[in-house]
Amino acid sequence: MTRIVEFKGMDQINKQDAPREIIFSKIERLIREMQHPESGVPVRSQKLFLTFIPSVFMGFDLVDWLMNRLNIKDLAEAIHLANLICQHGYFFPVNDTKLTLKDDGTLYRFQDPHFWPSYYQPDDIHYAKEPKEALAWLKKVLSQKWEFICKQAEEQVNLMKERKKSEKSILDSQEKAYWRVHRPPPGILSCFEKGPLANKHTEKAKAKQDLKKQVSFLQKYICRPRTKLHQVVESLIHRCELYAEFDPFITDVQPTNPWISDDITFWDLNSDFVETLTEKRLRRWGISLEELLTDPMGELEFEKYLRKEYSHENMCFWKVVQCLKSGSQAAVANRINKIYEKYLAPGAPCEVNLDSMTLDITYKLMKSPSRYTFDAAQEHVFLLMKKDTYRRFLKSDHYRNLLSNTQQIEQKKKFFNFGVSTRKKAAPSAGVGNRRNSGCHRTSSNVDITLNTLQLSGEHPFTGKHSQSTSDLQDMQKISALNRLSSSSESQDRVNNVGRNALLIPRGAHRMGYFSSSLDGTNRNITLTVPQPTQNLVAPWETES
C-alpha cells in the first residue's frame, strides 16, 4: 500500500515563504490532479519483455493532460511547461538521467511527495531576521527530517518483511531522481538557482503614524475626479492606432530593420541631425508639440520658424527652465536669477508674455526659490506655444516646404509602386494554434492592399502599406525580405532575380541611394518581382498632375 502523505501544514508555511514557494504550491496542485486515478494522467505498469515496470506514465499522456487541463493550444508551450515541472523534480524518466520530458512513449514516474522541493531542500540555509523565526524554521526542518527518517526506517522494516520488490524499486528510483535534481552535474544551470533576496520583506508592520497618514490620504483620494472607462479605453486605443505606423513591430522600418539586415541605413537616415528628413519623421511632428520637441531636428526647425515670427523668447524660456529643473542643485540659485533677469523682469531683454495670475504665482514662488520656481510660468508658455504657434507652424510655408521637399525626393522612387488596383487585401495568416510552425514573416498592419508576390517556398503573401503617402520603400523592403528568405546570409546587397516575371528597372533607381548595393556606383540593373497579373499598370508619374 503506497502512502499518500498529506502535508496539511504545507499551505500555512507557503504563505509566509518567499515567492519561490508560490510556484511550488501551484505545481503541486497540478501534480495532485495529475495523480487522480480517474481524471489524471494514466499511470500503469508497463510490460517490458518478461518484467513489469511499475507505476509509470508516458510522456505524451502528460502533455495531452496538460493541454486539456490548462487549455493550451500550442504544443510547444505544453512541452516547455512539462519540462520545467520535470526539472523541479516532480517526475522523472525511468530510463534516463536527463530531466526532460519528451512528447512520445517515453516512460516517467511521479516523485514521492517526500522528495518534493517544497518539502525539504538540501542545504537550504535560511537567513532569518529574528531568532524566533530561525527557531520556527529549524523546528520545521527537523520535523520534516524526522518524518523522512521514519519513512526510511519503515521501508527498511518492510524490506525485512519481504514487501513487494516493485515497491522497493519505485522508492529506489525516486530517491535517485531526487539527487539528480538537487545535485546536478557541474555546468548545468538548475531551476533552483537562488536570487540575492533570500529575505525579501513582504510587508512590514504599520506604525500608527503611517496608518493615520494612510487614512487621511484615502479620505482625500476617494473624492478625486475619475474618468469613465469607455472614454479611457478609446483613448488607449487611439494611442495605439496613431502610433502604429511608427512602431517597428507593426510597420516595418525603411529600408530595413538594422538588427535584422545588419544594415544601419535606417539609423543614418533618422539620426539626430540630417540633411534630408524622412516624410514619416515630419508626419510625426504633426502629432503633438511634445513629439516635435523630442526630435532635435524638430526643435531646430521650430526655432527657425519662431525666429521668423519674433516669438523665439518663448522657446528659449521653456528650454532654460528645463535646464534649471534637471540641472545640478548647486546651480539652481544662480540660474533662477539669470532667468528672472532675462525673461521675467519688467523690461527684460527677452520678456515672455505672462498673464497676471501666473506672474503672481511666480513671484510668490521666487520668495522660496527652488528648481520648480518657474513651473507655472513654463506651463503657461508651453500651452501658449502649443495652442498658437505650433498650430500655425503646421500650417506654415516653412513646414509645408519641408514636407514637399521630402515628397519630391520620395516621389522619384515612386515608379516602384506597381499600381494600386492590382493589390488585394491580405488574408490573415494562420494563428499560433498549429502544431507546426507557420513560418510567417512579419508584415505591416493597416492593411488595405497586398503585394501579391510569387509564392516562394509556400510563404504567406506579404502585405504592403497602401501608398496614400509615398512610403514606397516598403516595397523595397519586402523584396529584400524575400531575398532574406531565399538565402542564408542576411546581407542587404542582393536585390537580384528572385524568380519569374522579373521586371528590369531603369538604372536611375540606384541614384536614390537607398540600396547599399548600388552605392558603389556600379550600373547594376535592379530586378524586382512583379505581382501578377499586371494589367492596369500605370506609372504614378503618368497620373500625377
Binding site: N71, P248, P428
Partner: protein
C-alpha cells in the same frame, strides 16, 4: 475616558492601531465602490472591433555573451545600440549590442548588482545593489572607468532599481528599505525622498509626459504608487496583484501603467479612470513576471517570466500573441530599444539576447 478641559490633549484611545487598520479597510472598500461606478465597459470588449495584428516573427538577432554570472539588469543607451548590463558576478558591461563588442567592463566591489542605468548623454552609467549604494561611472576610453566612480547616495537596504529622470544630473532610486529617493549627482545630495510603500520597492518608471514630474514605483507590498517628484507626495495608488510586484512601466502615452508580478499576471491600470483596466494572464502561465515593456505604440506588451520565456501580449485585446523561447533560465530584465526596433532581454543563463 473624557479629555480634561485644560487644553491638554489626551490621545483618544479609540485611535489604536487596530481601529485605524479597520478604518483603512473601510476606506479602501469605499474607494473600490467609487471606482466601480465608472466601470461601464471592458477594454478587451471594445478592442474586439480592431483588426487582428499580423503574425509576429520575432527572432533572436544577437546573443551577448560575456557575463560570468546571472544577468540582473540592463538598460539601453539613447543612441539605440549600446546597452549596459549588470550581473551577479559584480561586473557591469557596456556593449555595442549591434556588433556585440564589449566596450567597457567594470568590476564592482560588490556582487549582485541589481540595478543599472544609462545616463541620457550616454557618457555615464549608474549602478548598485546589495551594497545599498548608487554609484555613477563616467565612461571613458582613455582611462579606467572605475577610477572616476562616485557614490551618489546610500539607502538603508539594497537598491533594486535606478534611472536618470531628465538629465545626467539627477538619479532616481528605489530600495529594499521601502523608499524611493531623488539624488543630485554633482553634490551627491538627497533632493527628495518618497515614503509610503509598505514593503521593498522593486521597480520604478518615469512618466513619458513632457513635464516629467511624476513617476511610478511598485514593490513587495503589492501596490503601485504614483508620485509627484516635486513634493514627494503620493498622488495615486493601485492595488490588485496577489503577490509581489516585480516590475512597473508607463504606457507610452503616460496615461496608464502596467505591472508584472509573482502571481504570474500582468495588469494595466489607467491613471485617469484610477483603476485596473486589463489583466494579462493564462491558466498555463504559472511562473512570475520579472520585467515588462511596451512597444513604441503601446500595442505590444513584452513580459519576461521565470519560466525562461518572453510572452508577447496584445495590450488592447488582452490576448497573448506569441512566446519567445531562447533563454535557458529565468528572464530578469527586458527593455525595448529607444527607437522600438529591438527588444533586449537578460537572463540568469548569463546571456543577453536582442530580438527583432
Amino acid at each position: 475616558m473624557a479629555s480634561d478641559g485644560g487644553g491638554l490633549k489626551i490621545d483618544n484611545p479609540v485611535e489604536s492601531i487596530e481601529s485605524l487598520s479597520k478604518e483603512v479597510e473601510k476606506l479602501k472598500a469605499r474607494l473600490e465602490e467609487e471606482r466601480q461606478k465608472l466601470n461601464d465597459v471592458a477594454l478587451s470588449t471594445v478592442a474586439e472591433r480592431l483588426d487582428p495584428l499580423p503574425t509576429l516573427n520575432i527572432k533572436p538577432r544577437r546573443v551577448l555573451k560575456g557575463h560570468q554570472g546571472k544577468v540582473l539588469c540592463s538598460d539601453w543607451s539613447l543612441d539605440k545600440r549600446h546597452i549596459v548590463s549588470s550581473s551577479q558576478d559584480g561586473k557591469m558591461i557596456i556593449w555595442d549590442a549591434f556588433t556585440t563588442n564589449k566596450e567597457h567592463a567594470v568590476t564592482m566591489p560588490t556582487t549582485w548588482v541589481m540595478a543599472c542605468a544609462y545616463a541620457p548623454s550616454g557618457n555615464m552609467v549608474a549602478c548598485g545593489g546589495l551594497d545599498n549604494k548608487v554609484t555613477v561611472y563616467p565612461l571613458s576610453f582613455e582611462e579606467d572607468v572605475s577610477s572616476k566612480k562616485r557614490a551618489i547616495g546610500t539607502h538603508t537596504s539594497y537598491m533594486s532599481c535606478c534611472l536618470f529622470p531628465n538629465s545626467d544630473q539627477q538619479i532616481l532610486t528605489g530600495s529594499g528599505d521601502s523608499t524611493c529617493a531623488l539624488w543630485d549627482v554633482e553634490c551627491a545630495q538627497l533632493l527628495q525622498s518618497f515614503h509610503g510603500h509598505g514593503g521593498d520597492v522593486m521597480s520604478l518608471d518615469l512618466s513619458p509626459s513632457e513635464t516629467g514630474n511624476t513617476f511610478v514605483s511598485a514593490g513587495c507590498d503589492r501596490q503601485a504608487l504614483v508620485w509627484d517628484m516635486r513634493t514627494g507626495q503620493c498622488v495615486q495608488s493601485f492595488e490588485g496583484h496577489e503577490s509581489d510586484i516585480n516590475t512597473v512601466k508607463f504606457y507610452p502615452s503616460g496615461d496608464a501603467i502596467a505591472t508584472g508580478s509573482d502571481d504570474a499576471t500582468c495588469r494595466l491600470f489607467d491613471l485617469r479612470a484610477d483603476r485596473e483596466v486589463a489583466v494579462y494572464s493564462k491558466q498555463s502561465i504559472i511562473f512570475g513576471v520579472n520585467s515588462l515593456d511596451f512597444s513604441i505604440s503601446g500595442r505590444f506588451l513584452f513580459a519576461g517570466y521565470n519560466d525562461y520565456t518572453v510572452n508577447v501580449w496584445d495590450t488592447l485585446k488582452c490576448v497573448r500573441l506569441t512566446i519567445l523561447y531562447g533563454h535557458e533560465n529565468r528572464v530578469t530584465c527586458l527593455k525595448v530599444s529607444p527607437d522600438g526596433t529591438a527588444l533586449s532581454t537578460g537572463s540568469w543563463d548569463f546571456t543577453l539576447r536582442i530580438w527583432a
